[in-house]
Each structure stands twice: as C-alpha cells, then as structure tokens.
C-alpha cells in the first residue's frame, strides 16, 4: 500500500483528502505545516507527498526545496488553489501540479500517474 503525506493548513481539507485518498487504497498521513511535515517524515518513509503552497505564514515551495534536497526519491505534487505558481520556477521542482478543486479526481489521477512513473523508474533500475 502506498503511503502518502498530505500537507495542508486547512483541517477540513486534510480530512477530505485523507478520507478520499484512503478510499483509493492509500495510507494517508496528514500534516498542518512545515514543522509537522518534517516531524512525520522523520517518523517513517512516504511514497509521495501532496503539498499545499500557502501554509499560513509558511511557503509550501520552501518545503518542496527542502524535500527535493533531502528526499529526492519521494515525488511531490503541489496542490494549490492558485494556478499562478505554475509559472514560479521554484515550483517546477515538483513532479506534478494540481489546481485545488472540490472534485478530487484530477488529484487522484495525478497521484496515480506520478506513482506509476516512480514504479517504472524503479523497475527499470533493477
């Protein structure tokens, strides 16, 4: 079972994502901000992280940079209410970008695509 880390500052969003993604067969761990995310990352490995960009006073992109540096094997999908960050070059470090919506199907598809790509790379490397 793939283990996902969802980082979002809104509790209801975390709840919604956790429920929906669990229904898809993922094990979901949530974090409300950068510090909590780092804490959860130290507790165990994740197959993928879904990261909000605006995290109260923090920036998801800063966390993304940190993750790319320290956990470059873990793909990250940015999930933001704003599409403008697509043009921010720092965001290009992510493996995917989804504009937030009440309909989670795009996010689910993106998670499946990125995980499949990761699996493919791992398989090719064997």
């Amino acid at each position: 079972m793939n283990r996902l880390l969802v980082v979002d500052d809104e509790a209801n969003i975390r709840l919604l994502y956790a429920e929906e993604l669990a229904d898809e067969g993922y094990e979901v761990v949530t974090a409300a901000g950068t510090a909590e995310a780092v804490e959860k990352l130290q507790e165990g490995a994740f197959d993928l992280a879904v990261l909000d960009i605006k995290l109260k006073n923090e920036s998801g992109i800063d966390l993304l940079q940190k993750l790319v540096k320290e956990r470059h094997d873990m793909p990250v999908i940015l999930c933001s209410a704003f599409s403008c960050y697509k043009d921010d070059f720092s965001a290009w470090l992510a493996d995917g970008y989804v504009v937030k919506s009440g309909d989670l199907s795009e996010l689910k598809q993106e998670i499946a695509r990125v995980l499949a790509k990761k699996a493919q790379r791992q398989k090719a490397g064997l």
Partner: protein, 835 residues
Amino acid sequence: MKAVIMAGGFGTRIQPLTSSIPKPMIPLFNRPIMLHIVELLKKHDITDLVMLLYHQPFVIKNFFRDGADFGVKITYVTPLQDMGTAGAVKAAEKYLDERFLVISGDLLTDFNLKKVIDFHVDSKAKATITLTSVKDPLQFGVVITDKEKRITQFLEKPGWGEVISDTINTGIYVLEPEILASIPDGENFDFSQDLFPAMLKNREALFGYPAKGYWRDIGNTDSYREAYHDIFKGRINLKIDEPKQDFLGKDLRIGADVTLEYPTGLEGTVVIGDNTQVLGDVRIKDSVIGRNCTIEAGVKLNRCVLWDNSYVKKGARITDSVICSNVRVGQGAVLEEGVIVADETSIGDEAVIKSDVKIWPRKMIEAGATVTANLIWGEKWKKALFEGAMIKGLSNVELTPEFVAKLGCAYGTTLPKGSYVLGGRDCNLSSRMLKRCFVGGILSAGVNVRDMKMTPLPILRYKLKTFGEVGGFYLRQALDDPAALEIVFLDGDGLDFSSGMAKNVERIYYKENFRRAHHSEPGAIIEINNVVEFYREGFLRAIDKEALKKAAWTVVVDFNFSPASQILPLILNELGCNVIALNAYVDEGRGSKKALDKQAGLNRLSKIVASLGAQAGFWLDPTAEALVLLDGSGRIFDGVELLSLVTALFLRTGQKGVIAVPVHAPSTIEQMANQKRCQVTRTKSSDRAMLEAASSSEVILAGTIDGRFAFPRFQASFDGMFAIAKLVELGAAGAIPFSSALAEVPASVFLQTSVPCAWEMKGGIMRKMSEDSLDKEATFIDGIKVHFGDEWVLVLPDQHTPYAHIVAEAKDQKAAQRLLSEYQKKVEGWKKELE
C-alpha cells in the same frame, strides 16, 4: 499569303512541362502543339511561314528545318531580346511585304482561317482580330464591336464587375503590311496593349471577326490536360499520326512496331506511339502513350498522357496525369488526378503522388513515399520524414514555411487539445523563421506553445522533466551542413521521440488528417521566463561546489556561438572557475554562423590552453550537447578516448551504480567498471535508447563515443555544459593530470569503418552476418556483435543512411585491423551475392 507563328514564349505558366522543351514543342497527341498550327495553316493554303523564335530556338529549328517535310516553307526570325508581340513581328518586317496572318504557336483551334481572311478583305480592314466567346473571359482581353464588326472598345483582363462581353481576342490576326510602319523599331510593343488601342484611337480600320469552332490557349498544365479531355470527347478533330485500328467500338490509334498483348483492356480513345510495348493485361482508357514506352501488366491508366521513353511498372495506377519523357513509375505506384511528372524522374515502388502535385525534372521519389506537395528543387522525397527523433532538410528548400507549418499541425494533432508544448531554437535565423511557422501549425491544432526562444537544448530538456508540458521541440542548424536545419522532437520527459511517436506524426501528415481548432480556441503562445534560473539552481545542487571553488581552475571554452555562452560562464564563475570564453557571442542580426571547422578550432584551442597555462580546455559543439576535452598541455581527448577517460575519472569518485554505453563502445569500459564493482549496461546506438537507459535510477553515468555525456543525478540527458563542470570537478578532485587518468584505462585498439550498403540490402547483409555468426559467441542488442575472447567485431546497419558500420576492438593495432578487414571483406562479398 504568309503567316507569322509566334513561338517565342518561355512557357513559365506551364512548367514543369516546359522544363526541357519550348512551349510550342510540347506534344499534343504525340506531335508538337505547333505542328497542329502548321497543319491548320496548310489546310487553308498558307504555306509560306515566318516563325518568330526566342526561347530555345534550336529545338524548334531542328524539328521543322526548312519546312519541306511538312509541305511548307519556313523562314526563322530570332529577335535578340523580348520585343513584345508586335515588336517581334516588326523584327520580321523584311519578310512581310504582303497581307499576313499572325497566330500563336501554342493554340489548339480548328477555326476556318479562310473565312477570317475573307472577312478582312471584304471589310477593307487594316487589321482584323479573330474573336471567340468563352465562359470565363477574366484572363483574356475582352473586345467589343459594333454591328459592322468594327472594334469599339478593349478591356484587358477585366474583373467580373467590368465584364461587358464574353467575346475575347484569340491572338489570331490578319494584318496589312503597312501596319508595320506604326510599330516602333527596337521597342517592346504589344498588339493588344499598344498597337490596337492606338489604331482604335486613330479611328483606323480595325475589325473583329467572331469565329466559330474550337479554340483553347494551352497556357497552363490544367489547360493542357483539358485540351486532351476535349479531344477525347470529340470537341475538336485533330490529326493523329498513329493509324486507326479496326476494333469495333474502340478508337485505337496504334503506331509502328507496337506490342499490344491484350487489346481488350483498352477503352475510349487510346493512342500508342511507335515501338511502345504494352505487356500483359492492362486497363487503359482515353490515354495517349508516346514512343518507346513500356507499360507492364496490371497497369491502369485513365485519361493519362505519357510522353516518350517512359516505363510504367506492374500494377501502377495513374489517373488524369501527365508523365513527361524518360520517367520511371514504380511497381504499384499511385498517381492521383492532376499530377504532372517532369522528365527523367523516378517514382519508387508503391509510392503515392497526391492530387495536383507537380514534380520537377530529375527527382527521385523513394519507394513507399507519399508526396503531398510540389517537389521543385530538392532531389528526393523521402519515404519517412523522420531520421530518428528529428526531421532534417535544406532550410527553405526542403523545409519550407508551408511544409513546416503543416508539420506543426500534424504534431499538434497528436497531442491533447489545450495541452502545452515547450519550444526553443538555436541562434540561427532560419531556425527562427521556421520555428514561427512550426508554432503556427501547432497553434492551429488547438495546442499551446510555451516559448523558450533561443536556448541551449539541454536547458529545454531540463524544463521538460518538470510538469506542465506534454512535449517539446527544438530547431537548430545541422552540424554537418550549414544549409540544413533539424527539428528535434521531444516527449513530455525531454526524451527524444520514439519511433512510434514519429510514425504517428508522419501518418497524420501524409493523410492530412489534421485537427483544426475552432476559431475561438486556437492555441496560445506563452513566453516562459526563469528557466535558466531553474536550470542553474539544479546545476549547482548537483555539483561539488566546494571542490571546484578550492581548485579555482582556469578553463578555456570554445562555445562555437552557442547560446550556452550566455549561461555557462556565469555558472562556472560562481563555482570559482576563471573562464576564458571563445566564440562566445550569438548575434542573430548577422545571420547564421557556420560552425567553425572542428579540427582547426581544436588546434587553435590547444595552443590557447597551453599558452595561457589553463588547467583545461573544452570545445562545446553548437548544440551544447557534445564536447571535446583538452588538458593543460593542450592534448586533445575526444571520441572513444574521452569516453574512457571520463569513465576512469568518474569511477575514481567511488560512486556505485551502472554505467550506460552504446553497444559499440570499447570493452575497456567493462574492465574498468568491474574493478570498481560497478556494472555496465549496453544500449542500442540510438539517442533515445541511451537516454532511456540514463533515466533508470541505477545509472550514474551515460556516455557515447562522440563526446556526449549524461549525469543522471542532474539530468538524464546529454548536457555539454554540465559535463564541462563535472569534468572540472572530477579533474580537480583527482588531483592528477588527465593524461595520467587515461593511463589507468586498459590498453586496447578500437577501429571503425563504414561500407556503402543500399537500403534493400541491409536485411540481407544482416541475415548473412547472422548465419556467419551461428557457431560464434554473438550479441544482438543493435546489429550483430561477435566476440573472440577479448576481441570483438560489430556489424551495424545505419538507421538513416545507406551504410553499414563495422567496428572492431582488439589488444593491438594489427589484430584490430585484421578483424576489421576480415569483416569488411565479408560484407563486400555478401553485397555481391545479394546483387
């Protein structure tokens, strides 16, 4: 009475039929058009002819000579310059001392000329213009007459709003000799534009005679084909040399020494010229075949015109087309309606020439090719557009704006509507021009383009690895030919196109099955910034900054005018390197730069590196993918030596993983890797195969034998800029000269050669090689590689050119040469057996 035949035109509008003969000599039912005019004049007792020649006069003179063979007397006049219609007649003034008739040599008509002359005499005219009525008078001169047929008005090439009559000037005039006095000497002077309007103004006796009968100006290729249609339909009676045969219900005209095995397949009017062979069961309807042609079994010709000496192979199908002289039409080839094939062209088997395509002389159409556009200047039309992941052609000759726009549309059609692609180019002006056309095509298919403008290809590939785009493209000048341009196609991961993707684009291009966006939803062009910054960040993360800063090397880099010169020096400076940049400017305004001669550039660089006391020198190719390394003494490391050196340096770092090299790289790579407990994976020779291997998470280095390297920790693509920084890092970390590192490479000799090998022979050669290798240890990754202990030889057919490559490696020069020669002889022998 005399007649003047105007036969001086260049026939520009009717090209390519006039590419090797003057327009009046174009055959109409196996006789020159002008001969039909001569026959018409003779029929009306006009046998004293003056022919006005200008363009290729000797062709006409050689045919008609003094006219005796045709029962007429001919005087030739060849003005030294283009004098206009009346001016040219003026040049023949000394032969025109009586009433005379003027007629064009490229008309098809059965007018009763006697009646025109009688009218002229009766009306006491100084000039009579023969008139006729046509459905579409726009392209002709409209003439208005009064009740007495006196001309009252001219209207040259009117618009529909101006058309007040359908009566036009046919270019057939009867003139009194005194009219020549009104034509100025040595000036360009036209009958319809100058002389007749002047006569009208002066109220001279200028009349128009409305003739009855058939008239057609054979001015363009459509009109030429329509003239045949009219003759087939019996709208005009034409003299045909070939005798009529007595076949009930058929109008067959068969020349001398004709072989016709199955006359039952002939239908309508069929003319077959002398010495032509029609072999086997064919279907020929309403067609004219010239002399010395061969038509094989199963051929279908419908409303076709074949000139002399053409060969139509089995099963070819040609509809309403014109095949000029010395043309070969391959087996099963299809020529759709309206095709014109000029002299000495060869159309390959199973080729398809789409409707209305005109092929200029001496072209080679490859077997299986589909030709959708006029082929004018290039030598051949290829079966496949793609060479691997790219399309290459002469800029503005083969890769024309029209072609490239259609190609862009085909590419866009393969992508989801509303998706984004990333585009870039080198500094070449042709790349800039054609990129705009290509982008236009993509937008028309409803796909958006993010434009990186002028950028090195590795940076474009780097951005493609992030989200946002489903593919990319890059236009650049070809390294081996400054006149050629390459369009490189990339997938959404920045990898070269797979053959399946290329075929998809080709299929849509040839079928013209384009997706055209609705007017409200074409794609948009978005400029994309910060990519260089993004690349720089990733670059710096993947390099040991401290080691470089500590080493503080001085390096000389020849940038070959690549846009990399705008990026790499800044990064290297940031890493503590002192960069001496050569050829480091890009200047679009000054036009395209030819890549400097590589060897001369390297020799110059070698001297500069040594004299400046730099630690290393680099020659970066204009695509910023490949490089050559020079050590502090100016010694040049490239090709196999460079691959071995980079591998040796890289292995010294102690990194564990897999090294990817192509199947023809030296086996010393394995020997070095095994000592350091690393593995080697051999890939096919294609770029995509290499880059796919580099994408594997286990691969730590991928390298070719032409100086391209990918360091997957940064990006799994060939990147000359990163490779330069990495080599400085490796060199500085090793703290030994490059030549010493190379000494660690096990000794071996690596030789290669290429043997010309026709496409159709490649399969046979590889079968022979396979049979020859049955009892030997062989690998089949790409081509066939036979191992003899530490020695090996590889026979590899080239994917894009008619060559087979032979590569051999052995411990010493003699053994390698022996192996190479042995297999070269084998391949040459197999070629002879297969011929």
